[in-house]
């Protein structure tokens, strides 16, 4: 137990702080870009679908970044603590933080008289996990976080400029539907699981 707490503490201290700062920056920028006061049921989708999914990219994509330096990677491999356990802890922290940020933002919108409901939280969370899942998988495969940032951004742009059907992230904005979000959630979770598997193979091969 002490080991896990220690891992969480060091992860927060050395890895996550700049990413949490970036996530907070996104949360501050969103009201400036879109406005979050007194939005009706249709227009709440704009900040929720255009901005908040990037929380996933910011918090999940850099999970494997510290060990993408070969020297650090070698050091981690000779440690007794399983590397994948540490990655798992980092992913869980990122997922919990994402949920907290999204809940906080939706509550803030509700307090500012926007027509949001509890159902918006899982819908936005699914988008964030999907985009973050694409990022973490691309980062695990390529071994570089920048590729991990590029793939979700590319997907976002393609979807924004022309709908990607069942796999669109903007169903609330376009037709007020949240039905298809579970598909994105499942794909996002699968991407995260696949990234762990790929990192495992990469670590064992060395």
């Amino acid at each position: 137990m002490f080991l896990y707490l220690s891992a969480i503490k060091y992860n927060l201290r050395f890895n996550l702080l700049p990413h949490i700062a970036a996530a907070l920056g996104l949360m501050l920028l969103t009201p400036v870009l879109f406005g979050i006061t007194a939005l009706d049921a249709m227009t709440v989708a704009y900040p929720l679908e255009l901005s908040l999914p990037f929380l996933g990219v910011i918090l999940l994509t850099p999970v494997y970044t510290p060990e993408q330096d070969p020297g650090i990677s070698d050091t981690v491999r000779v440690r007794k603590t399983p590397y994948l356990l540490i990655c798992g802890i980092r992913i869980i922290i990122a997922l919990v933080l994402m949920l907290l940020f999204i809940c906080g933002f939706v509550l803030l919108m509700a307090a500012l008289e926007s027509e949001v409901s509890i159902a918006h939280i899982p819908a936005v969370y699914a988008n964030a996990i999907f985009l973050g899942g694409l990022g973490i998988l691309a980062s695990a495969i390529s071994g570089h976080a920048v590729v991990g940032y590029m793939i979700p951004v590319l997907y976002f742009v393609m979807d924004l400029m022309g709908s990607l059907g069942t796999f669109t992230m903007f169903s609330m904005m376009r037709n007020g539907q949240m039905n298809g979000k579970w598909v994105l959630f499942v794909i996002g979770v699968c991407c995260i699981a696949a990234s762990i598997w790929i990192r495992n193979i990469a670590t064992e091969r060395k």
């Binding site: 009706d40 993408q68 590319l154």
Partner: protein, 431 residues
């Protein structure tokens, strides 16, 4: 030259360049410009519609705009697009009173102070309250709320037809200022929002003839291609730039710092190599598209160089700016912060300031000029001087950023500019 060649090879061999090139081509394909999904055809007389266009007809604009302002004033909920995306604006009491004065100036009726303060709709002369079917909506607490339709609201407003166009514009400028800009009531946007009129056959034919004579057909296609390519080139080039700089940090920074080569030569070679790499897929697409159009319209009817002219004049400055942002912020911070910076710039820019620029025309320092249609050559000629100024401005911005990058890189080589917050590369996970 050797350094440029080496940097170019490094970029071309990287995974990120491959993915970026695939992304650029895929984007062009999904937007229907590679291969082109439409051709330019001569308009036929007697067609049902030739489209619509914005007009500056005061008789059309004034009553509609005034009524729209009154409806929004009544609900104290105004629609604005300050950053391109819809934003609902509510005015505080003092601003509401100012808006009430504007409404009063636009109206034949005098709106009482009570109405201005409460925002209630002036009732019609009858004393009884008649509620139409479906107008009474139950609230959660058991009370009822009267829902008024736009027509019912407008019974309390009669536009003052004696008002002059100049006075009307002055009032609308005040209204737009109160709303923080980007509302439906700015002069340029009003003609698009409230002044739409049908295009006639003669106008459609004149536009076609201009497209044939001035654009030689391919010019119109090249503009639409540039419009979409600008969107992707305003964002993707930042990734290879960040990737290349961060790869240095991992392995060879200290070695690079001690080499005899000047910072200027090194950064310029890197910048040009990145630029060449990101423009490569675009130039290949330009060549293929020229071939396709030669087959469609005949080689003699098209301008075979026009795609390349647009690539250098329209698209290159956008790619330069995006690459320069990547180089500068990554060199300065040693982090991928440039991606966030470019994403915000791209987001605000594509969303488009106030409405019309999202699809046509160009603002000063707009990263991505828009021309989201096939044809409309006269519109292009109208904003061409602004476009030239804009492209020069964006190129200068990119040059400025590259110059700053050289200074920063030089300072770092001398051991300066090591700010603790950016030294995270020396702190690694302790677990």
């Amino acid at each position: 030259m050797t350094l440029y060649r080496k940097e170019l090879l490094r970029v071309l061999k990287s995974t990120i360049f491959f993915l970026a090139a695939v992304g650029i081509i895929l984007f062009a394909n999904t937007q229907g410009v590679f291969p082109p999904h439409s051709t330019i055809t001569k308009p036929l007389p007697g067609a049902e519609s030739y489209g619509t266009k914005a007009s500056d007809n005061p008789d059309l604009i004034m009553p509609e705009a005034a009524e729209s302002l009154f409806v929004q004033y009544s609900a104290n909920q105004y629609i604005a697009y300050p950053n391109g995306f819809i934003k609902y604006v509510r005015l505080n009491q003092s601003d509401r009173e100012k808006m009430g004065e504007i409404i009063a100036a636009l109206s034949e009726d005098v709106i009482s102070e009570d109405v201005q303060e409460s925002g209630d709709i002036p009732a019609a002369n009858d004393k009884t309250l008649q509620i139409g079917e479906g107008s009474l909506q139950p609230n959660d607490d058991g009370s009822f709320q009267i829902i008024k339709s736009e027509e019912e609201i407008l019974t309390g407003f009669h536009f003052n037809t004696a008002i002059t166009w100049e006075h009307f514009l002055a009032l609308m400028v005040q209204a737009d200022d109160l709303l923080g800009g980007g509302s439906d009531f700015s002069e340029k946007w009003m003609s698009h929002r409230f002044g739409q009129i049908p295009v006639t056959y003669d106008e459609a034919l004149a536009d076609y003839e201009l497209t044939v004579s001035y654009d030689k057909l391919t010019g119109a296609h090249a503009r639409l291609f540039s419009d979409y390519m600008g969107i992707i080139l305003g964002l993707l080039p930042v990734f290879p730039a960040v990737f290349l700089c961060l790869s240095d940090r991992k392995n060879i920074t200290s070695m690079l710092y001690t080499r005899r080569i000047s910072s200027t030569r090194f950064i310029l070679a890197r910048f040009l190599a990145l630029l060449t790499a990101v423009m490569l897929p675009v130039l290949i697409m330009c060549a293929v598209l020229t071939g396709i159009h030669a087959a469609d319209y005949g080689l003699g009817n098209i301008d075979i160089l026009v795609y390349f002219k647009y690539a250098f004049f329209w698209m290159l400055p956008t790619a330069m700016a995006s690459t320069a942002v990547g180089l500068f912020f990554t060199t300065l911070t040693n982090t991928p912060a440039a991606i966030a910076v470019q994403l915000v710039w791209w987001f605000v820019d594509t969303a488009g300031g106030s409405g019309v620029y999202s699809f046509f025309g160009v603002r000063p320092l707009q990263l991505i000029p828009r021309h989201n249609t096939l044809g409309e050559t006269q519109t292009f000629l109208d904003y061409l001087p602004d476009l030239i100024q804009n492209r020069i401005g964006i190129t200068l911005t990119a040059v400025l950023l590259v110059t700053f990058t050289i200074f920063v890189y030089n300072a770092k080589r001398r051991g300066l500019l090591y700010v603790s917050v950016f030294k995270r590369d020396k702190v690694q996970s302790a677990v």
